[in-house]
Symmetry: C2
DNA sequence: GTCTATATTTAGATAGAC
DNA sequence: GTCTATCTAAATATAGAC
C-alpha cells in the first residue's frame, strides 16, 4: 500500500496491536500469551506483530512506556500545591483510579513479575516509579515542615510505603468495588501527627 | 532401595523437591521455571519430580497447601483474645512476618497470577484467605462492640482491606528492611475511633 | 508492509531399564 | 523408586513471495 512511511498510519497500527496485546497479556499472562494470540486479537498476522515490535518482550514493554510521561504530568500538576496532605491524597487517588480498567490488576501483576527478568522493562518501571516517588517525597517533606505530617516519619520511606499501598489496592481491586475510601482513610490517618489525642 | 512405602522418606523427598521448587519458581516464575531446573535444584532427575507430584501445576500448588493449617492455627491462637485490636495487630504482623523470606514477594506474585488460571490453586488460596478473613472479621466485630474500633467501619470490608495491606507489606519487602513498623502504624490508625481528635 | 510457510528450540511428560 | 532417553506439542522468530 503506502510506500512512504506514514507516521500516522504507523501509530494507528501500533495502537491496534498494543490494544490487542493488553487484552491478551491481561487474560493469559506474558508467557501464556502467544504472539499468535495477540495477532488474532489485532486481526493481523504474527509476522506483522514482529515487524512492528521486533520481539514479544518489546511489545510488552511498550505497554508501559506511556506511564512515564503520565507520571510526570501527575507530579507536575501537584508540584505547587498549598495543602501538602491534600495533594498527596489526590496523587494517590489518581494512581488508584486507573484500577477501574478491569485489565489493570492482571497487567500490574505481569509487570511486577517481568520486572525482575527483563532489565529494559525494569528501567521503564523504575523511571515512572521514581518520578512518583520523588514527587511524593517532596510533598511529604513539605507536610513535615508545615507540621501537617507526623514529624517521626521519614519522607522517602513513607513515599515507598504509600506506593506499596496503592499497588495492593490495585491487586485486590474487585469489579464493582471502589478502593478509594479505604485508601483515603489509610493515607490520611497514616500521615497525621498524633498530637491531638490519636491512638 | 526401600521397597516399602516409608512415609517418612516420602515426606523428606517431597520437602526436598518443594524447597528446590520454591527457589526456582521465585527466581524464574512459574512458566520460566522448567521442571528440569527444579530437579537440578533438588538434585534428582526430572522424572523423579513427576513421580512425586504428577505435573508442574500440582508441584506449584503444593507449596501453598501448607498455608491452610497455618492460617487455622494462627486464627485459633487469637480467638479468645481480650484486647481485640492488639490481637488484630498481632495476626497481621504474623502474616507479614513471612515476608522476610527473600523469596516471598516473588512467590506471592506468582500465586496471584496463577490463581486466575488454575482453579484448583484458586481453591487452595481461597481456603486459607477465608480462614484469615473470618478470623479478622470476628476480631473486628469484637472491637466494634467494645468501642475500640471506629463504629463507622464495616467488619468484613475492613478485614479485606487489612489483608490487602498485608499484601502491600509483602510487595514493599526489601532485604534489610522490616515492614512491621509501617504496617502496625497503618493498622492501628486505620481502626482507631476519631473521637479523640482524629486526623 | 503484510502475508504464508516453516525452521528452530525448548520444555512438559512418559516409557522402560535397572 | 530413580534413572536415561525420548516423544510430542507449541511457540518464537524468520524467509521469502506478493
Amino acid at each position: 500500500m503506502a510506500r512512504t512511511a506514514d507516521p500516522d498510519r504507523v501509530a494507528r497500527m501500533r495502537d491496534r496491536i498494543m490494544s490487542g496485546a493488553a487484552d491478551v497479556f491481561a487474560m493469559r499472562g506474558f508467557e501464556g500469551a502467544s504472539v499468535a494470540d495477540v495477532a488474532r486479537a489485532a486481526e493481523v498476522s504474527p509476522a506483522t506483530v514482529f515487524y512492528y515490535f521486533g520481539d514479544k518482550a518489546t511489545l510488552f514493554r511498550s505497554l508501559f512506556e506511556q506511564d512515564i510521561p503520565k507520571a510526570e504530568a501527575l507530579v507536575a500538576r501537584y508540584a505547587d500545591a498549598d495543602d501538602a496532605v491534600r495533594a498527596i491524597v489526590d496523587v494517590v487517588e489518581s494512581l488508584a483510579k486507573d484500577a477501574t480498567d478491569p485489565r489493570a490488576p492482571a497487567l500490574l501483576i505481569e509487570l511486577l513479575r517481568r520486572t525482575g527478568r527483563d532489565p529494559e522493562l525494569l528501567d521503564v518501571v523504575r523511571r515512572s516509579a521514581s518520578v512518583i516517588h520523588e514527587g511524593l517525597t517532596t510533598l511529604i517533606e513539605r507536610g513535615l515542615e508545615s507540621g501537617q505530617i507526623d514529624a517521626s516519619l521519614d519522607a522517602r520511606e513513607t513515599a515507598s510505603w504509600l506506593q506499596s499501598v496503592v499497588d495492593a489496592a490495585y491487586l485486590n481491586a474487585r469489579p464493582g468495588h471502589c478502593p478509594a475510601p479505604a485508601l483515603r482513610r489509610t493515607v490520611l490517618r497514616y500521615l497525621a501527627p498524633e498530637n491531638r489525642g490519636g491512638p
